[in-house]
Symmetry: C2
Subunit: 389 residues, 2 copies
């Protein structure tokens, strides 16, 4: 994409020697908007980023994996500032236009010697073709890089949005987990960009059981450099841009869930017919977070008792005798009645698929909500029992 | 205990042929109080029991394992009533004094032929020594029976409280999980008994991460038959009785956690110095429910980043730079600073123990709360992926 350059190198921050330092650089200052974790234990780069993004402009973001720079106190903030400053010097841009972002283990100070050597080095590697290296450098327990590109057309002109994410796909991500960086060549004001980003986030990253248990480092950042000459400045163009941004965020969020630690299946739960929007949210969230539902899905068991029980404890208004439950198009419960052995057999067959849609109709109103989640296997436990060793 | 009889038999309800029908019988009607699940998807015996207990008197409770009689609609209610009626007839007591209780798989109707044969049979087995058989008959995925006895003394007279529980010790028990039956020979009004039971429950079963995710069948029932001639009718005697009941509930709750599915460690999290009682509850609950904390404990990793991050996302007021974190008596974080490699080494040693106390001091006020929980191993996933097969 015109005007953006990327790089990713091995700076020696990760113990395994893999790529661990990434950089996105815009040739001129871009409109920028960002959303950060709601966790009160915030990583140093998040504390800093929240302040810096207020000016609505950004020209570079430096991302490291292997160390979250979280719970590192004043030293952590000073380190993050020192990295910004050094990068600003190396790129010859204002340090106010530099953001930093970190992911990895909590509680250890950044190895500043690696950054002092790595930052001048990475600047040399910047290239318009460097996005793969960047995407690799920000990974932690991810099994593969996560990139999406989407084009949009406004008045016969084409604009692009490219997103790169990292998410170890933790099912309840309590820590340094989810980073996503989005670049677009559309021209849009920082204010409009923030509105579009919030809206896209609400439908994607906020529906993959990520935000409820916000990590200390979650960051979603978008740059718009205007290099396509496509202006997003009226209702029609905003709709096109929003749709494209929604799609990029949704695809990235889906990739994060699919690459979930130990995940073998990708599941969408849709709660329909709820009395209120809040009820629909509560019921779908409770089901998507339930360890018992997740383990049953891993066991390919259409355990509808656990799904309805999770809805029952969610705080949402539910009436068991009204509930309908579908696995894909197969009804297993209608009006609170189990549909019998044949339906169960068909459902068991559906459970063998790698993507499953579960629909719970509460039949109490018209509100709907949904969540995307993955199953829960022994490998999740293995990965997380041994994470720091 | 004078005036109580027990039985437990194999009635053919469980597929594995083990004991699955239990009975407690009081020779005369006893004061009774009960607490039930808060889940809106309630099992039939819970719906029925909530009504029946209102009269404050009970003479028999029939408990089956292997089938929760939940999500069984009108048929489920009719089956539960039929069982009560048959037992009342066999014991020659008013069916209003009979409670029924079920635990096991959700969504299947009770095999009524087994109850029609089993109920007349179990009555023949009633014996004052039958408590072990009863305790075995109510188990599901439990690995052993759970019984506690506690004596108290008031005015040179001794009273006893005996508790029998079943709990598969699910970490987030979304389904037919926790049953506890308590018998005492003290004399106490149903009203006072309910107050004492609620108070004991709040400190025990409601602090083992059970009640937040109430199952569809959770039941805690206490009978007081007065056979000891000890009257609980003034402040002094109530304090003695409350303490004894607290201890019985606490020990049973602890047994449930220790026998948690796949559990290898018993952990107490204490949150101190919270700004409000609600904050202390929120932070301790979030930590006790965190899969990442649980898996780290299983891995014997004092992963304080995950503990503090769970507190950070709990909604409680927290300031990272104020936090102190102890494992048993070993400080690992003081004023938000990691205490270094030596402290980490000592903590890692403590993590090898089978019982661990973790104390998080928020240093923002004077409120305290606690939770008991267990770790989270591959075996939890195995047990719950295959539960219905």
């Amino acid at each position: 994409m015109k005007g953006f350059k990327f790089a990713g190198i091995c700076a020696g921050i990760k113990k395994n020697g893999g790529k661990d330092l990434g950089l996105i650089y815009c040739e001129k200052p871009a409109s920028a908007a960002a959303l950060f974790t709601r966790n009160k234990v915030m990583a140093a780069p998040v504390i800093l980023g929240k302040e810096k993004i207020k000016n609505g402009s950004c020209q570079a973001v430096l991302v490291n994996s292997g160390n979250a720079n979280c719970f590192t106190g004043k030293k952590g903030i000073a380190d993050a500032i020192a990295c910004s400053k050094l990068l600003g010097d190396c790129l010859d841009i204002d340090e106010d236009l530099v953001l930093v972002s970190s992911t990895g283990v909590i509680g250890a100070n950044l190895p500043m010697d690696k950054f002092e050597a790595g930052i001048p080095e990475i600047v040399k590697h910047l290239s318009s073709e460097g996005m793969d290296d960047f995407a690799d450098a920000i990974l932690t327990t991810d099994t593969h890089r996560k990139m999406v590109k989407q084009n949009g057309e406004i008045g016969n002109k084409i604009f692009s949005i490219m997103g790169i994410a990292k998410g170890s796909g933790m099912i309840r991500p309590d820590m340094a987990t989810m980073l996503a960086f989005i670049c677009t060549d559309a021209e849009i004001s920082p204010q409009d960009l923030k509105i579009c980003l919030s809206s896209a986030n609400e439908k994607s990253f906020n529906r993959i059981t990520i935000d409820g248990d916000t990590s200390t480092n979650d960051t979603l950042l978008v740059f718009a450099n205007g290099s396509s000459d496509v202006k997003i400045n009226n209702m029609d163009s905003k709709i096109v841009f929003q749709n494209a941004l929604d799609e990029v965020c949704f695809q990235l969020a889906k990739m994060v869930v699919k690459d979930g630690e130990g995940a073998t299946k990708f599941v969408q739960i849709i709660v329909k017919g709820a009395a209120t929007k809040e009820d629909a949210f509560k019921a779908s969230e409770a089901i998507a977070h339930s360890n018992l539902v997740k383990t049953a899905i891993y066991g390919e068991d259409p355990n509808w008792g656990r799904i309805t029980a999770a809805a029952g404890r969610s705080g949402a208004q539910v009436v068991p005798e009204r509930m309908d439950l579908f696995f894909d198009d197969q009804p297993l419960v209608l009006n609170g009645n189990w549909m019998g052995a044949e339906a169960e057999k068909n459902t068991a067959q559906i459970m063998k698929n790698s993507e499953i849609t579960i629909t719970l109709n509460l039949n109490l109103g018209h509100a709907t909500d949904h969540f995307f989640f993955c199953d829960f296997s022994e490998d999740y436990v293995k990965i997380n029992a041994d994470y720091r060793t």
